[in-house]
């Protein structure tokens, strides 16, 4: 029963896929092919990421994270969060587990949000590719506006989410 509850979304989608397969065979087969490709892609990237996370968790002391990304890290924390996010690669959901460890290690809430924002919009490899396909004016403008935007969004969410809720999020990762 607990298993069913945990996998409710997955089971629901698979049932939906089967219904589509029964009504439209070609579309259904394509869905199954694409879905299994997604899983294979994930299985390729996920093991090293989680391995790094496990090592990070054990080796990097909480004090280090607090010093550079914690409550009193100021501008350094903001710049470092942007840099960490921008240096990354991969889809945004790859950032969630990393952000989880950062929360656990005492990084400031707004810095976590800046990290997520930078990961989603400022990635350097993607920026280079964007310049070549959409032109430098488009790419550079977007990059500059996004830097300002993600900081503002992070500050806003930081204000709107109260301490009790932050405590709850923190507990999710320390339990």
């Amino acid at each position: 029963m607990k298993f069913l509850k945990r996998y409710v979304l997955f089971i629901f989608i698979v049932i939906l896929d089967v219904i589509i397969l029964l009504t439209n065979k070609e579309l259904g087969i394509n869905i199954f092919l694409n879905t299994s490709k997604n899983f294979l892609d994930m299985l390729e990237v996920i093991p090293p990421i989680f391995l790094l996370l496990g090592l990070l968790d054990v080796w990097v002391p909480r004090e280090t994270i607090i010093k550079y990304l914690g409550e009193n890290s100021g501008i350094t924390g903001i710049v470092l969060s942007i840099f960490l996010g921008a240096a990354a690669a991969g889809p945004l959901y790859g950032a969630f587990p990393i952000a989880g460890v950062m929360i656990k290690k005492g990084a400031r809430f707004s810095n976590i949000l800046i990290f997520l924002g930078a990961w989603s919009t400022l990635k350097i490899p993607m920026f280079l590719f964007e310049m070549s396909s959409l032109g430098y004016k488009f790419a550079v403008t977007r990059w500059i506006v996004d830097v300002v935007g993600i900081i503002i969004i992070a500050m806003l969410i930081d204000r709107l989410v109260n301490n009790e809720e932050k405590e709850k999020i923190f507990k999710k990762h320390t339990a």
Partner: protein, 159 residues
């Protein structure tokens, strides 16, 4: 390529860690497995959802919808498509470039790119499991609104 580098880095860290402290390395591996096991249920759900949505909404279909509409309605449509789908940048940028050549507006494309990157409706269950409902909804909502601001500014600079 990226994956190969990632494997090299993490495996060499693992070897280094093992060399320095076996007990700590064991602990790290246990933590690694536990965090993976924790996240697997919503992750599997999201991957299945992406498989379903991206098959039904082909780039072809997306391009038809964007190409046909203009103005604010066009932006609204592209923003919704961008918010739902999760096309990797390496697919999205060439798609956006070809749409621009076919006469789609810069603002429509800009809002599409921005929501594509920042707003993830299909990954929301996963995000909630990490950051809770309120933060997730706020982040996605504010990013959605912000995408329009980015698009207007890009529209002014580029055209």
């Amino acid at each position: 390529m990226f994956t190969a580098v990632l494997y090299c880095i993490s495996l060499s860290f693992l070897a280094f860690s093992f060399f320095k402290d076996k007990k700590k390395t064991k602990e790290a591996l246990a933590k690694c497995w536990k965090s993976f096991e924790n996240i697997l249920p919503p992750f599997a759900g999201v991957l299945a959802l992406i498989g379903l949505v991206l098959t039904v909404l082909t780039p072809d279909l997306i391009s038809k919808i964007i190409g046909a509409k203009t103005g604010f309605l066009g932006m609204f449509i592209t923003s919704i498509i961008g918010a739902i789908t999760l096309v990797p940048g390496f697919v999205a940028f060439p798609l956006a470039a070809s749409l621009l050549q076919k006469g789609a507006g810069v603002m429509q494309i800009a809002v599409f790119i921005s929501t594509l990157m920042m707003v993830g409706l299909v990954t929301m269950p996963l995000e909630v499991s990490y950051f809770g409902k309120k933060t997730t909804i706020l982040r996605n909502l504010l990013s959605y609104i912000f995408s329009f601001i980015v698009a207007f500014i890009i529209g002014m600079v580029v055209s």
